[in-house]
Symmetry: C3
Subunit: 265 residues, 3 copies
């Protein structure tokens, strides 16, 4: 199950590495399950002091492995299933699961941080990026909206015009822009070294104080997260069932299609 | 009715131009009605893909045409009337109407963007400004608070100390400051060309995905907008009925007056 | 009672000076009481137009006078007592009391603005700092979270990753960083002169318009402040009663101790 993920715990800090470098760490069903399994496992370890997230190979993560996921409709449905609306589904939990962990989580970013990859990074508390990394909310290209929970961080971290632009346009931005807009916490040549240094600093603090502080900011920093998670998913279902989403996919594949008039929103 | 506004639809994008250049596009009753009429008309067009807002002449809009509006008390009351508190009144709808439109709305700004003019621009999703433009929350000069809905964007876009300063002081800031503080999305020599290029990019995306994304951010990005709209209006009524508001007007007219002690707030 | 505070009212503007320079204006029980007493007194003065907060001596305020406060457990309990959770206790009121005053409040900062000192400054509407000033959310060093209400401003003013970092790490940042992150409104060589100039500008505005505008932003700018204040205090009690807090203190005193596994949060 967890062959997609490497999780090494050194001095109470888990270094979690996305391990599918030949596919640029794209998210297939096994990857989703592996991330959630590792989150669950780490949540139980009260000795754990922090998490550093990284990706093997040339990219952090290029997003959803669409081909693999669409090959099995039952799998895809499972990914989006929720028992109640405000809950996070599997697709959201690969991002929000890091928010819920009561330890500091740092994402170390390089290469492409696109689509689902960016959503995962947005679940971390801090994002340290290399100058070569590029970020994109990729979902718009497929006629979708980002529905993996990263919107929670985008409303906390960014001017809302810039957040809306990234979500609407699916533009790819470089590390400089991402830093200026607040998506990257720090930009430096060796973000792994920076993360380790920052984590060492936090190890000097009480694990309870860190957990309490993180919870305070996550729960009270912004209004009802559950409603936003519910709205993401509900809107995504409407998009997936609509015709324009299929037209968007056709356009991405180079076919000449015109969009239909929009539905009532 | 709509002689104050020019609305040209080219390739499914509406270019809406404030057309009262001899009065610097100041907002009289006819202008309020014309903007709301055009918003209503555009909201019904499911083929519409976007809106670009601009102003004819040397300024985008210098705000309320006070002389014209105060000449008819019944008109002014109509402007501020609401059927229920959380609803937007006419004064607010010239701004919030753009937020409610399910297509991207871009404001192209030049010259003075003052008072009601800034409020209209704050209703747009993106604000592209020329280096010569100046912005001001002008209402403070008249002993009022800004009550046209622009506060919604000011709490999403800016550090709250800077937002509060602009609203309290009624300072005029230049384009550089506005960009640094987050009021302008982009600053460039030809913001109309930029808006058209950005809009062309969004035309590649599904109209449903854009509408869903905009709604997600507008509804869940910040807490209960309705309550803020209600509070704006209620506070404004108290100010208008108070004596210090009349003193503020007298001071603006160069008369020597002292403010009375403030009411209980 | 108020020997800790000097309050001089000149032209309807109160200049409130923390007056305990030999102790770097550290907050003992007398200081807490003096600040709250002066807030109460100022709140009743409807002629008051503004407040400028400053500190005598080389530092604005280095935070809680731990030795003095811990010498009397009854005092400390009084500081944290609340009649109901959403209410501000004494520790929070030295910060939130400035938010509640219906006049503009400006903090003029120099030297160390640490711990409780930063919390007080965060209660002001505007923060003007000298290039030499340093800021720190100091509570983390003692195994605590910041629980004096300053979190309200940190969620309005800053990117949430930077806010969380300051609260978790208890890092000391310099004036440049504080300005870049949004903690300082302005950075200049003579912040007192700047505050006086800015205040003179606001004196041109109606006191009612200023009060109404401040209330609009304070009440509707961010979600339910009362719940965040309640969460701060509840979490702090749990921390104080836990063992890791005592270990954090021991570590600060140079003793070799290891943290216990964290509690469930």
């Amino acid at each position: 199950m967890e062959q997609r993920i490497e999780c090494e715990i050194i001095d109470s800090v888990a270094v979690v590495t996305l391990q599918r470098p030949d596919k640029h760490n794209a998210l297939d069903m096994a990857m989703f399950k592996a991330i959630i399994a590792v989150q669950k496992r780490l949540a139980k370890q009260h000795e754990l002091r922090g998490v550093i997230l990284t990706g093997a190979g040339v990219d952090f993560c290029t997003g959803i492995d669409v081909k693999s996921l669409l090959s099995d409709a039952k799998q895809a449905a499972k990914l989006l299933w929720k028992w109640w609306p405000g809950q996070a589904n599997m697709a959201q939990r690969v991002s929000t699961g890091w928010r819920d962990l009561p330890v500091p989580v740092m994402a170390v970013l390089h290469g492409k941080v696109w689509g689902g990859g960016l959503q995962i990074a947005l679940g971390a508390d801090f994002r340290y990026g290399q100058p070569d990394c590029t970020l994109s909310v990729m979902e718009g290209r497929w006629g979708l909206l980002p529905d993996m929970g990263g919107n929670l961080a985008m409303r906390e971290q960014m001017n809302q015009d810039q957040a809306l632009w990234l979500a609407m346009s699916a533009d790819v931005i470089d590390a400089e822009q991402a830093k200026a807009q607040g998506l990257l916490t720090e930009l430096c040549d060796d973000p792994m070294a920076l993360a380790q240094q920052k984590m060492a600093e936090l190890l000097q603090r009480s694990p309870d104080a860190l957990a309490a502080t993180k919870r305070l900011y996550r729960r009270h920093g912004v209004p009802k997260s559950g409603r936003m998670l519910a709205a993401e998913t509900f809107s995504q279902w409407r998009l997936v069932l609509g015709k324009n989403q299929r037209i968007a996919v056709a356009k991405q594949q180079g076919k000449e299609r015109d969009y239909l008039p929009r539905q009532s929103w």
